[in-house]
C-alpha cells in the first residue's frame, strides 16, 4: 500500500470519527487542536483504524497512557526528559521535535497529527509483512 493510499484511508477514518471535512484532514493537522478530537475519540480512531487496515492495536501502542500519573514522567505540569525519552521509545511513530521545546503536559495531545497516524499505520503494515 502506498503512502497516498494509507493517507486516504486514514482521512476516511478521521472524517467518520470526528465529523470533519476531507479538506480539513491535512498531513500536518493536529488531531486535538485542529480537528477537535477529545479523549474518547482516540479510542474510536483506534477501533476504526483496526477495521480499516485489518490489524490489532494494543492499548497504549498508538496513544500514550497513564503518563500524567507517573511522577518520574511529569513534574510541575511538564514532562521530564526521562518522560520524553520513555515516550519516544514507546511511540516511535511520533515526532517530538516541536513538543520538546515546551514540554507542557497540556500540549501532549498536539503531538498527534494526521501524519503521525499515517506513519503509525505504515510501520504496522511493514512489520506485518516482514
Amino acid at each position: 500500500m502506498t503512502r497516498d493510499e494509507v493517507f486516504e484511508k486514514v482521512q476516511e477514518v478521521l472524517v467518520d470519527a470526528l465529523g470533519v471535512d476531507d479538506d480539513e484532514v491535512t498531513p500536518e493537522a493536529s488531531l486535538t487542536a485542529d480537528l477537535g478530537a477529545e479523549s474518547i475519540d482516540f479510542l474510536d480512531i483506534v477501533f476504526k483504524l483496526e477495521q480499516a487496515f485489518g490489524f490489532k492495536i494494543a492499548q497504549g501502542e498508538l496513544f500514550p497512557e497513564n503518563v500524567a500519573q507517573d511522577p518520574t514522567y511529569v513534574q510541575d505540569g511538564r514532562i521530564t526528559p526521562v518522560g520524553i525519552a520513555a515516550l519516544k521509545e514507546r511511540l516511535p511513530h511520533v515526532d517530538f521535535t516541536s513538543f520538546e521545546q515546551d514540554p507542557e503536559l497540556g500540549r501532549i495531545g498536539e503531538i498527534f497529527t494526521v501524519d503521525t497516524l499515517v506513519r503509525f499505520v505504515e510501520r504496522k503494515l511493514e512489520s506485518a509483512s516482514t
Binding site: I40, D41, L43, V46, Q51, E65, N66
Partner: protein, 173 residues
C-alpha cells in the same frame, strides 16, 4: 427501575447481538409534555417518544450486550454517539425493537451498531426500520488517564439485574 428504557430482552447471542423491545405507552409522564397541546397556536397534543430516550433505549440494549461479554465485571459507560438517524416517530401503542450488534470489543471499550424498528399494533402491518444508532462504550476502570472510580459496579445495578432475570438471561453478578 424508572430509568429503564427497554421492557424486555428477546434475544441475546453473546458477544454478537442483542434484541430488546420497548412498548410505548400514553401513561408515561413525558408523553404528556412531548408534545403538549398549544392552544394559542391552535396545535393539538402530539404524544411521541422523545428521540433522546430512543437513543437511551439503544444505549441500554447495546450496553447490556457489551457488559454481558465481560461477565458484567466492567463498568460500561456510553462514551460516544457516533451516528443517529431516526426517520419516524413512535406513538403510544407502538413497539420499538432495538437490535444491537457488537462490532468491536477490547480491554478499553467497545463499539456497536444498531437498528431501530417500529412495530405497529395495527393488523397486517409489517415491522418498519426507522433508525440506525452507532455507539461507543468505555470500560471506565481502564481509562487512559488512570482515573479511579468506586469499586462496586454502579452501572449494572438492581434494575438491570431484574430486567435480565425477567428476560430469562442467566447472570451471576
Amino acid at each position: 427501575m424508572r430509568w429503564l428504557w427497554i421492557d424486555r430482552i428477546v434475544e441475546l447471542t453473546p458477544r454478537e447481538r442483542l434484541v430488546a423491545v420497548k412498548h410505548v405507552s400514553l401513561s408515561e409522564d413525558h408523553m404528556h409534555e412531548h408534545f403538549a397541546a398549544d392552544d394559542e397556536a391552535g396545535l393539538a397534543a402530539l404524544p411521541v417518544m422523545p428521540a433522546p430516550l430512543i437513543i437511551e433505549g439503544m444505549a441500554q440494549s447495546s450496553g447490556i450486550l457489551v457488559g454481558h461479554a465481560g461477565g458484567f465485571d466492567e463498568k460500561v459507560i456510553l462514551a460516544k454517539i457516533g451516528r443517529v438517524e431516526l426517520d419516524a416517530d413512535a406513538s403510544p401503542g407502538d413497539t420499538l425493537r432495538y437490535t444491537a450488534n457488537l462490532t468491536h470489543l477490547d480491554d478499553a471499550g467497545a463499539a456497536t451498531t444498531g437498528e431501530v424498528e417500529l412495530l405497529s399494533p395495527a393488523p397486517g402491518t409489517e415491522p418498519m426500520t426507522i433508525g440506525r444508532i452507532d455507539l461507543m462504550f468505555s470500560h471506565i476502570d481502564r481509562n487512559s488517564a488512570g482515573l479511579a472510580f468506586p469499586e462496586h459496579n454502579f452501572v449494572f445495578g438492581e434494575g438491570f439485574r431484574t430486567l435480565l432475570r425477567l428476560s430469562g438471561v442467566q447472570v451471576d453478578f
